[in-house]
Symmetry: C2
Subunit: 487 residues, 2 copies
């Protein structure tokens, strides 16, 4: 079935009596002629110019399902295992979720690839102490102060089976104090091992930013302290969280759910709560009493996107959980998404601005990043479907030029690098479109069609289209500056 | 009593066996020699070089009071009405909190100053419709499309009685479509009135950012759409929240408290929750069962500050609520602080980086801003005490130069503008110090003294000093580049 959906039902222009004649654009509020499932019939509040609503009048209504009807007790509706080409990976073979892999298969992955593990604080401290002692021996044997660190960056491979980018095991890089070029990085590594060992001993967690400032003379800037932390995760084969290292920033989650914590507290997410960085603090995730079934998780790129949708009560009207990492997600936010997906089985949809950065953020949730390659296996969610916004979504909306800015050289380089990867045909075609469209925008540009149009109409339609997964997989094309093709 | 606290008890260097001899700085974890009230005696985990802890060994301990002991039920400990010179205003006469002013006194303020009021959505819509109809009359009478807007910016006065900057009533500015220079601003104002009227009609709230994007051709950038919104608040004498306009960003609150919402839900703040923008959604603020008395509200400048303190369980160990506006606070965050102060009576302490921007953010919480002058009376908290960080705090810590950067020209201008205001002597002296110190830093620089030193030692000490309010008011000095004087 052809992906293009240019029949009458979708074209936004026909959904709105949108009248540019008068000096400022006047349009009826989106409530009057909205298409979409809803309990109430449409309300014609004021047909100013007597024009009848277009054929196929729509029903629409707002209701806040949450907390109104204590008899209602919703649950999580797991994803039906059907292939949906809006996912990032090529081909139609669905990956088995990592947490459902049999034990021996997981072990095989751990042998072939370099994958960090969770450890208790006591074990982590022992490993660090053994490392320090091991160094004293190499010094005593005259080999000096030296680390052999598994090579996790520039040593990646996209694994077709689990559809995640993983660091191949076997190669190492040396950090030797005796080598003049490696002396600084070796002392940063040694210093950080000692710092982490003491943090674990004090029963604390510290942020990456705090690590930098404990010795700014030594590190200079955060890229160096981050590198030392990642090296130690690689060296010890222990995940960053188990070493007591966290991110200073936190993602936000909204939904008619609550998190049951191990300390007995329950945290309602209905007005937006910070994601706890220690997932072992969360005993369970539950649907709030009085809320209907939850049907999907919506990952959004920006904090302002989450707050706009929260304001429109989107999570209640569309029975979903909304999560944001407030830009590029931290390891904790990515791990929380994997945790939510594993616990609830819900499908995951991704929403970003129609720009290169938005695509790269969704790709990180789906298949991981280079810097934390040692953790990609544990926290990636390759089944995330890129709902939008794509250039073709924007082209259809016919927005004014002031909403757009040209792609910069860096933008185009980022798009072409993304395109080189093993991507699904929908992802590749959308990247090609953006290169030829040569413009980017922010999702708020859509508010020029009505401040609630995006939340009440466009986004639900886009998600329904993706959920039905009826797109035809077309042949792959090279990224010349071809005319924007219909999505 | 002299403010300088250079006796043995305070100097950080003596608190730490801090030993620079070895290549990387080694110091014992802060837990071993910590001064401060705590239930356990100190633990000497490892006196590596046999050195006895300094005289006056300290007791220290961690305990998580929250949720451990269901019999414990803390409450909010109201501020004792004693003058504390760390507040922003001059002189020693404490202002009566605005919400305790008698009715006729409030009316008097409303007559002398321009102060916006809360209104129901129905009333707000009527006012806007009257405004539009009023305009049709002026057009019919040949006077064209015209607004007379109360002059709220550059028309401010610091009121000694309530210690807040207020916009004087009486003056107006005209926005006339017939005047070529005012045509654009008049059409933006007209367009925004119509947009707000429809938002109210749809029962929705929209963010300032959404207003911009509903017609980017007309506004161009957010400063213009914000100006139109503020003009309409002035024109209608209605607060922005009552017009359904909110900020896209939100502050975060942490504490062993929960917010009881009008929809029956209770929102625990123990891991950090977004501040609801509609305070009428909050029925009450309560201390969590099992938590001890809450003693103060700590307003922090940055999100990373809040997360660092959350990580150190500062709110539990020091019985406080922590609030951040993630930088310059929105009206909602400032209003939430006023709401918390009014409901709990707790003292409010402000913590910021030792830089001009941090000082200006705390000043905004205390006495308001120009752009929203019409709302300062409703949401300012002049009794906020500036705990730190000041330049003299940093000078005492003897941190390495890499943690500092020079004040820019804009920084110095900002400091001198702040200094011109009616400020207390402590604020003035600290600003003078920063000008002569000519450097700024981020609070994380203090982590070089131990990653938990700031949360477990320096900050509690600073707050105790402010709470005891024992500073000597010294004479005022002009801001030449004088030698940094002791705080």
């Amino acid at each position: 079935m052809d992906d293009s959906t240019d029949d009458d039902s979708y074209h936004p222009r026909k959904h709105y009596a949108y009248d540019r004649q008068v000096s400022s654009s006047r349009w009826r509020t989106s409530r009057e002629y909205i298409r979409g499932p809803g309990p109430e019939t449409h309300t014609t509040e004021s047909a100013q110019d007597g024009q009848d609503p277009p054929a196929g009048v729509y029903s629409y209504g707002y209701f806040s399902g949450s907390g109104n009807d204590p008899q209602v007790q919703g649950h999580f509706v797991p994803e039906i295992q059907k292939y949906n080409p809006y996912v990032i990976f090529k081909g139609e073979q669905l990956p088995v979720p990592i947490w459902e892999l049999p034990e021996e298969k997981v072990q095989d992955f751990h042998d072939r690839y370099f994958i960090a593990k969770d450890k208790s604080r006591v074990e982590a401290r022992k490993t660090l102490n053994r490392l320090l002692e091991g160094n004293i021996n190499t010094i005593e044997r005259g080999h000096g102060y030296k680390f052999n660190i598994p090579k996790y960056t520039d040593n990646m491979e996209f694994n077709e089976e689990v559809k995640v980018s993983l660091a191949k095991a076997g190669k190492t890089i040396s950090r030797s104090f005796c080598n003049a070029n490696q002396r600084e990085v070796a002392s940063r590594t040694g210093y950080t091992i000692d710092l982490i060992e003491r943090t674990l001993g004090a029963g604390l967690n510290i942020s990456k930013r705090t690590v930098l400032y404990t010795n700014k003379d030594l590190f200079g800037d955060q890229s160096k302290s981050d590198q030392a932390i990642n090296d130690i995760c690689a060296l010890t084969n222990i995940r960053r969280g188990s070493l007591g290292i966290i991110a200073a920033e936190k993602g936000i989650v909204v939904g008619n759910i609550f998190l049951e914590l191990t300390n007995g507290k329950s945290i309602s997410c209905s007005i937006g709560v910070q994601i706890p960085h220690r997932l072992d603090q969360i005993k369970d995730v539950c649907v709030e009493i009085g809320s209907r079934n939850i049907e999907y998780i919506l990952v959004v790129e920006k904090h302002t996107m989450l707050n706009y949708l929260l304001e429109m009560d989107y999570h209640t009207n569309n029975n979903c959980i909304i999560l944001t990492g407030c830009g590029m997600p931290t390891l904790q936010t990515r791990d929380f998404l994997r945790f939510l997906k594993q616990r609830t089985g819900l499908p995951v949809f991704g929403l970003c601005d129609p720009d290169p950065e938005g695509i790269s953020i969704l790709a990180t949730y789906a298949r991981g990043s280079c810097n934390s390659a040692y953790d990609n296996f544990n926290i990636s969610v390759p089944s995330i479907c890129w709902v939008g916004l794509s250039s073709s979504d924007m082209i259809k909306l016919n927005l004014s030029e002031t909403n757009y800015s040209r792609l910069s050289r860096e933008d185009k380089t980022m798009l072409k690098n993304l395109w080189q990867d093993d991507l699904s045909d929908v992802w590749k075609r959308r990247i090609e479109e953006m290169i030829s469209f040569d413009k980017k925008a922010s999702f708020e540009a859509i508010h020029s069609l009505g401040f609630d149009y995006f939340a009440t109409n466009l986004l639900p339609d886009m998600i329904n289209k993706v959920r039905e997964g009826y797109v035809q997989v077309q042949e792959k094309k090279e990224p010349q500056d071809t005319e924007a093709s219909e999505d």
